[in-house]
Symmetry: C2
């Protein structure tokens, strides 16, 4: 659906601010608790947590992250899910979200309703209330920004991007590549349960969600002085993807993580399959020093992930 209309009666300007906010609260329904625990006061109030807090923010921008080929409802879902994927990448639990919307007054009410209903769907599916937000005029565009707060798992720890050591094994969940044409970029499910489980495994030493392409995102996990040496045949390709796409397309929203070289890989795979029988897991290779690259290994110097602002 194209989001803009020249018919004022069908646009957000038909309602004005107060009625628009009332409509948004109706669209969100049970996804949005009452103030002060939800929309309607200067701040939202969230009960104190017991573990370290996590905070992440990502936008969905019309013309960049979504276009007319993505149903507006799926756009709202994508906005929420891409932030959930960041919480998943630290092994955390999401707790509450706020949404700031900057929109042109020509945006169709119908489009906006579907967008918020998408947000509400994800909110309910993952039990993460939408506790507040803001709506502001923005000539010519749609920028929706969601901030998610979460917390570290109580008996686990926060899994950061640093922590991998040379010789650690490199794993990735799911399949990679062709996320745009396949619609995976909005159809994906964030790996929340997987991330929380991985954060409880002491041998898992670092983690990231694959959003800019594996080639670029693995750089963030690489220990100092080491680089990934991968088995090209082990890279899990999404239908329609080639190797280059799997390494550089981005928007996979899978988890890449490292396992200590000393860990029992077979036992780890068994535990994974028992816990997540429907989530594919692939061991792609390991981090090695430049002089220790095995013959035939795929190195990533020729591949670049998605570059923003170029």
């Amino acid at each position: 659906m194209h989001p803009f209309t020249n018919n004022p009666r069908d646009s957000v300007s038909a309602l004005g601010e107060a009625k628009l906010i009332a409509a948004i609260r109706r669209w969100l329904g049970s996804a949005s608790p009452r103030a002060p625990f939800g929309i309607g006061d200067d701040c939202a109030v969230v009960p104190a947590g017991r573990a370290a807090q996590l905070i992440t923010v990502d936008p969905v921008i019309y013309g960049e992250h979504i276009d007319d080929s993505v149903p507006p409802r799926a756009g709202g879902e994508k906005l929420f899910k891409r932030n959930l994927s960041d919480i998943a990448a630290m092994g955390g639990r999401p707790r509450a979200a706020v949404v700031a919307l900057a929109i042109d007054s020509h945006v169709k009410l119908k489009w906006l309703e579907q967008f918020y209903r998408g947000l509400a769907t994800v909110s309910r599916r993952y039990h993460v209330p939408i506790v507040g937000g803001d709506i502001a005029h923005h000539r010519g565009g749609i920028v929706a920004t969601l901030t998610l707060v979460g917390e570290a798992p109580m008996k686990g720890r926060v899994l950061t991007r640093t922590g991998a050591k040379t010789d650690d094994w490199i794993f990735v969940t799911g399949s990679l590549g062709n996320s745009l044409r396949s619609g995976h970029h909005w159809k994906f499910s964030p790996c929340l349960a997987e991330g929380q489980w991985l954060a409880r495994q002491p041998a898992v030493r670092s983690m990231i969600d694959v959003s800019d392409g594996l080639a670029k995102d693995l750089q963030a996990l690489a220990p100092k002085g080491a680089a990934p040496a991968l088995d090209a045949s082990a890279i899990p390709l999404r239908a329609g993807a080639d190797l280059r796409g799997a390494l550089t397309d981005g928007e996979d929203y899978e988890l890449a993580f490292t396992l200590a070289a000393s860990a029992n890989r077979e036992a780890f795979f068994r535990a994974w399959r028992k816990k997540f029988p429907y989530t594919k897991l692939s061991c792609l290779g390991r981090f090695v020093r430049p002089n220790a690259v095995p013959d035939g290994a795929l190195t990533l110097t020729d591949y670049r992930g998605f570059e923003h602002l170029r």
Copy 2:
């Protein structure tokens, strides 16, 4: 400063993402701790708080909240301060901020540097680290969204918009009106200390920050079945403001709050002046039932505050 340039060498596209993020971290300096407690991982990590969490989000949009007449550094300051004002309105303490920036690739590096240096200035002044963020391409615009997390004061409580009772006195800090031409809309200081002190006074029953104009914002404090009856001569006018402007201009970022009718107003004023000798405080009137409006009182039915999206 106009934010856009057609000279690619002076624009954000000259750097590309990795170098731009490095530049932003340099501009933020000590305002931005290292990952995982700051920029550089999938989420920022903030130590667990002991009181209820507060969350608020507000944007600064080029062409709406700032234009070429506002120095970019002041634009960054405004973005941070308008969110601090929302934390102040609940009596809370700010703890950490994340900033999501959606920008056209033609934005001048110099403009962006000043904007982030403004953010850093406020971060250091109020001891609120910038712990994370996002930067994304957005053709044709600049939308900067800051989310602030805070916590309720330990020995106080969260002051919400609801809680006022009929006959409660209505107070406001500072002066109102003419915020645009005077530059107050970006020069203001958020009333954080005042808000925290007010939340510790049991007789203060509700509070809001005046951002859409007093006429509109007082509606949010009104107890059911009551309306504000004000003394027009008590409304504190900013230089250059008339009564209508003071009631409807908006962007005052002052605190409006209510005091129980049974409270000792003189003692309250004395305590205020001792604590905040440089912050003006005015008692404007009280909330009354429609049949109890005093002769000559100003009611607000003829005034409307700032309406977004019209």
